[in-house]
């Protein structure tokens, strides 16, 4: 190991009890996030693959009840379980930023959906699409989270 490498390791190593606790907290947070990403990514990859195969064969992709139930279970596990576990690791600043981001996303949803609904009823636009609204909520949440974190 080079002298520079050794110095970098020494400098990045926790120095006191507080740094050790901070390091452990960050490590646990990263681990939970990694598990949540895997839980989300693997089923998404499977569904995408099935969708692509069905599309290539020119047939509609039909969700089996087992697949739907499994995905619902995984989603509940990730959101409720992940939320509970992460809730014990976040601090008051994280929590405040989360509240702010959820408020922004909720406001976006409450603004867009009724407007879209009224315009649809008037024949101006197509019927509201549920997954677009869901995506809108999540995109707003991510953008607002980034804004409050890096502003």
């Amino acid at each position: 190991m080079t002298v520079t490498g050794a110095r970098a390791m020494r400098d990045s190593a926790p120095r006191g009890e507080g740094e050790r606790r901070d390091s452990e907290r960050r490590r646990r947070k990263r681990l939970i996030l990694a598990v949540l990403i895997v839980i989300s990514f693997v089923p998404g990859l499977y569904v995408g693959h099935q969708l692509g195969a069905a599309s290539a064969e020119g047939r509609p992709f039909v969700w089996s009840p087992a697949l739907a139930a499994m995905l619902a279970g995984l989603y509940l596990l990730a959101t409720l379980g992940g939320g509970l576990v992460l809730g014990g690791l976040v601090d008051e600043l994280d929590r405040q930023r989360s509240y702010q981001a959820v408020s922004v996303a909720g406001f976006a949803l409450m603004t867009v959906y009724p407007t879209w609904f009224f315009l649809w009823k008037g024949g101006f636009v197509p019927e509201p699409i549920h997954w677009v609204l869901f995506l809108l909520f999540w995109l707003s949440l991510v953008l607002a989270s980034l804004w409050y974190r890096y502003r």
Partner: protein
Amino acid sequence: MDVGDYVKNRLKVLRAERDWSQAELGGRLGVSRQAVNAIETGKYDPSLPLAFKLSRLFSVPIEEIFDDRHGGPGDAR
């Protein structure tokens, strides 16, 4: 809220006196390094429980850490 609306604090000075990093202080308080940084730079005001924790940790009254009298409305200073 503007950054100027937040209370000022001596956290950075108190931390430097003990030669603690932001991560060290955060670990001792049970908050992240980012939270300590946000408090020090005036981007975030800590909750009352966290302010009391800081007070106990540094063994100084809260008023010696935080100061909200820095040019606010009606302030003669």
